[in-house]
């Protein structure tokens, strides 16, 4: 019984949430359209949480991903205003993300600053940079190419379901691709294996020939890059960029990874579980919004659920 609660407590809770919304919102919740909608709403968080999982596997975390996402959106938008083609602007925004993440990695692994301090500092700097570059204003309207905004609105048609035309949103597809890539990276490659070894015991990993500092640097760069991608996706979705629009991403991404890690046997973060964590947060957000629950009340609920899930998991682990 306790084992079940420990391993599947979060899943059971998730099922209870689903059933609750299904009953409360019989007409709208359990529909293909709503689920595709949820998948689109969650796509940025999936990308950010996948990136966050990479560093959390090593026992580190990155507080700067929210401001990195904002900055990347701003960079892309500014480049659009200089008539850069979409592919070039997006690529440069992603490179900024990789570079920013690499700076985090450099500070943490080579300079030796704690991840909390290093990424808190870069959070502040990136956020300041986003304001400086944008002049503190939202960049929107004509400078944003139409095709860029349309990308988020379009998708691959899935035909008619019960008389309603549904399509798989492009942003969902991007999120799925990122999730698959990160899953392969963490679960199928020597790189991922070594990251898990660092997370389990970095001294033992080092003495076993793992290049701990180099791998940390790469991992943080990838996290920065995925944060930038999430920021660009967000900019596409709202066809604009402002220097604070990524700010909610960091806490939610960390929350999703923590929620997910309660599902794994030994409490380590894993990509699939992080996606479940994102699903829990996304479904809650969607359902509560439909039930017109105040967004501040939503925040209280989400925080409470994280505490409940993690404390149940650690409490039952202790009882073993």
């Amino acid at each position: 019984m306790l084992t079940v609660l420990r391993r599947y407590g979060t899943l059971i809770g998730f099922a209870a949430i689903l059933i609750f919304f299904w009953i409360s919102l019989p007409d709208t919740f359990m529909t293909a359209r709503n689920w595709l909608n949820i998948s689109q709403q969650m796509s940025m968080l999936i990308v950010a949480a996948a990136g966050m999982t990479i560093v959390m596997v090593m026992g580190d975390f990155d507080l700067s991903i929210g401001s990195m996402a904002s900055l990347a959106g701003i960079v892309a938008a500014i480049l659009f205003s200089f008539d850069y083609p979409i592919w070039a602007a997006v690529s440069i925004a992603l490179i900024v993300g990789l570079a920013g993440g690499a700076v985090n990695g450099l500070l943490i692994s080579f300079v030796g600053i704690l991840p909390f301090v290093a990424t808190l500092a870069t959070l502040t700097m990136l956020s300041g940079a986003a304001f400086v570059v944008s002049g503190g204003k939202t960049i929107s309207g004509r400078v944003i190419p139409e095709a860029f905004g349309n990308f988020a609105r379009e998708g691959i048609s899935l035909g008619n379901w019960g008389g309603v035309a549904v399509s798989l949103p492009n942003l969902t597809i991007v999120a799925l691709i990122v999730a698959v890539l990160v899953w392969v990276l963490l679960e199928q490659t020597t790189f991922g294996r070594r990251l898990y070894a660092i997370g389990g015991n970095s001294e033992a990993a080092h003495l076993s020939g793992v290049a701990v500092r180099k791998l940390k640097l790469i991992a943080f760069a990838l996290t920065g890059g995925s944060a930038a991608l999430a920021g660009v996706m967000y900019a596409s979705r709202v066809a604009s960029a402002n220097p604070t629009q990524g700010s909610g991403l960091m806490l939610n991404a960390i929350a999703a990874v923590f929620l997910g890690s309660t599902l794994s046997e030994h409490g380590e973060p894993r990509l699939l579980y992080s996606i479940v964590g994102v699903l829990v947060l996304g479904v809650l957000d969607n359902g509560l919004t439909q039930m017109s629950v105040d967004s501040y009340v939503r925040q209280i609920l989400v925080g409470g659920i994280i505490i409940l899930a993690v404390s149940t998991s650690s409490y039952t682990r202790r009882l073993r």
Binding site: T189, R193, R194, E203, V210, A211, H266
Partner: protein, 500 residues
């Protein structure tokens, strides 16, 4: 009349028995030696007395009254005082602050620490040991190791109201002391005895024990073997009791003689914090490294393994220049390493056996150095597991769930998977039960017979004498002697370690 009596103390760690039944009784006003080889159970017994470890079963009495020792605080209240080598100190605080740590500091107006009084009290405490050369206001970390040890020792002799000290437990107190300092300590111990307090004295130095102790209890393999009056017993009797069997029988015999070719040659190799060393290891040879604690053994191994940069000199490995810049280089060059602390340095406890085994060899154990192939890894881990006689439910079992001896075998499996040319061992049998110890010795013999060179660092002198072909003695960061192990006895080796 006994002060402290222990009967039938047992303790097992994760299924591995450390104490299988120890009896001990200490009379008031007596210096009582607790003797035994490394791993015999002395430290577990002391931890039980200190309230740090809970025994599985124990009948503990003080003045005939049964007591329980549930915490260090309780041990203190019962009048026990402990001096161990790894005593907790704060190097950045002053000598006086360390001596009085955890006790009430003298204050002015109940609020401000009265530093003058505190320093004076510390000076008085040190004076009792005849120590006048240590300034109590200096940071402890700035003192020499011997002086630090004296400070630690003196802190146990502070008078306490409420809980007078009745039994002092000293674990290898003289390990870092010179002869004069040791003599002063013995004077204090004799004074304590005269005042009616008792001392439980743990030391490997038989001469000391013979000189200052009244009684000796010998433990071996977790059992108390005998308790004798020192006056009725000789030096040799004590050794026989401790070892319990002839040294030769504890170690499997060498299968083949060392070969002619040299695996590793170090020429004037500069060790950080030490001096330049030169030595060679031949194929099939076990080179032992002896020395008292912190004589430079660890840094020597770390330099060989590329974790510490050499400060000078050169190495060749199988005739080729060898200049490792990281452990990764060392693994690639064909070295294997068993670190001293298997839990913190050797293993990723939360991961399965096979992931630990293949970690240094992932490039070779994967497809195109990138894609994991768990079935292949598990096969390799199972084969290595058989080689080292690992007892586990399968290669997927988490290392955390294994006993200490089996965990150490995983570390061996990991080191041996790449078929290294040279194996570096740092205290390979520390905290390992007797059966697994023999297995590990057999593995070392097999590997040496196959032509592997082995460097064995150990503080267990019988182990060095039993396993090594030659023994290099380190003192103060330098190799002072290299001697053949054949015909060497423990006492002679110990004297070499101390430079006498």
């Amino acid at each position: 009349m006994t002060l402290l009596s222990l009967k039938d103390v047992t303790k097992a760690y994760g299924g591995v028995p450390a104490l299988k039944g120890v009896d001990l009784s200490v009379a008031p006003g007596e210096i009582h030696a607790l003797m035994g080889e490394n791993g015999a159970g002395k430290s577990t017994l002391i931890k039980i007395l200190a309230g740090v470890v809970a025994p599985d079963h124990a009948d503990i009495r003080i003045d005939g009254q049964p007591v329980e020792i549930g915490s260090p605080r309780q041990a203190h209240r019962l009048g026990f005082r402990f001096i161990h080598q790894e005593f907790n100190v704060v190097p950045a605080l002053s000598v006086a602050e360390n001596i009085f740590m955890g006790r009430q500091y003298p204050t002015r107006g109940g609020l401000f620490v009265d530093w003058r009084k505190l320093n004076q009290a510390a000076r008085d405490t040190l004076q009792k040991l005849g120590i006048t050369h240590i300034d109590p206001s200096r940071p402890l970390g700035s003192l020499s190791l011997g002086d630090q040890m004296l400070v630690r020792i003196s802190s146990a002799f502070i008078g306490d109201d409420g809980a007078p000290a009745r039994l002092y437990v000293l674990d290898e107190p003289t390990a870092a002391l010179n002869r004069g300092e040791s003599e002063r300590l013995f004077t204090v111990l004799r004074e304590l005895r005269a005042s009616g307090a008792s001392v439980l004295y743990v030391s490997h130095r038989l001469d000391e024990v013979m000189a200052i102790c009244d009684m000796a209890t010998v433990v071996r393999d977790g059992r108390s073997i005998d308790t004798r009056r020192i006056a009725d017993i000789t030096h040799d009797d004590l050794v026989t009791l401790m070892i319990g069997r002839r040294v030769e029988e504890a170690y499997p015999p060498a299968i083949a003689a060392p070969r002619a070719e040299t695996v590793l040659a170090a020429q004037d190799l500069g060790i950080r914090g030490g001096r330049n060393v030169s030595f060679q290891v031949r194929a099939g040879e076990v080179l032992g490294i002896a020395g008292i604690a912190n004589a430079g053994q660890r840094n020597l191994l770390r330099t060989l393994f590329g974790d510490l940069a050499a400060t000078g000199g050169a190495m060749t490995l199988a005739g080729q220049p060898y200049r490792p810049r990281s452990p990764a280089d060392a693994w690639r060059a064909g070295l294997g390493y068993i670190p001293r602390e298997r839990r913190s340095e050797g293993l990723v406890l939360s991961r399965p056996i096979f992931e630990n085994t293949t970690l240094p060899h992932l490039a070779a154990q994967s497809r195109w150095r990138t894609w994991l192939t768990p079935p292949r890894e598990k096969r390799a881990a199972s084969e290595q597991g058989e080689l080292v006689r690992l007892k586990a439910s399968g290669p997927g079992q988490r290392v955390r769930e294994l006993s200490g001896g089996n965990q150490q075998k995983v570390v061996f499996a990991k080191a041996l998977l790449g078929k290294p040319r040279l194996l570096l061992l740092d205290e390979p049998t520390r905290g390992v039960d007797v059966g697994a110890k023999f297995d590990i010795y057999s593995i070392i013999r097999d590997m040496a017979a196959g032509g592997m060179g082995v460097v064995l660092v150990s503080s267990d002198l019988p182990e060095l004498i039993g396993m090594a072909d030659r023994i290099a003695v380190m003192r103060d960061g330098a190799i002072t002697d290299i001697v053949a192990a054949a015909g060497l006895n423990e006492e002679r080796l110990l004297n070499l370690c101390y430079g006498r």
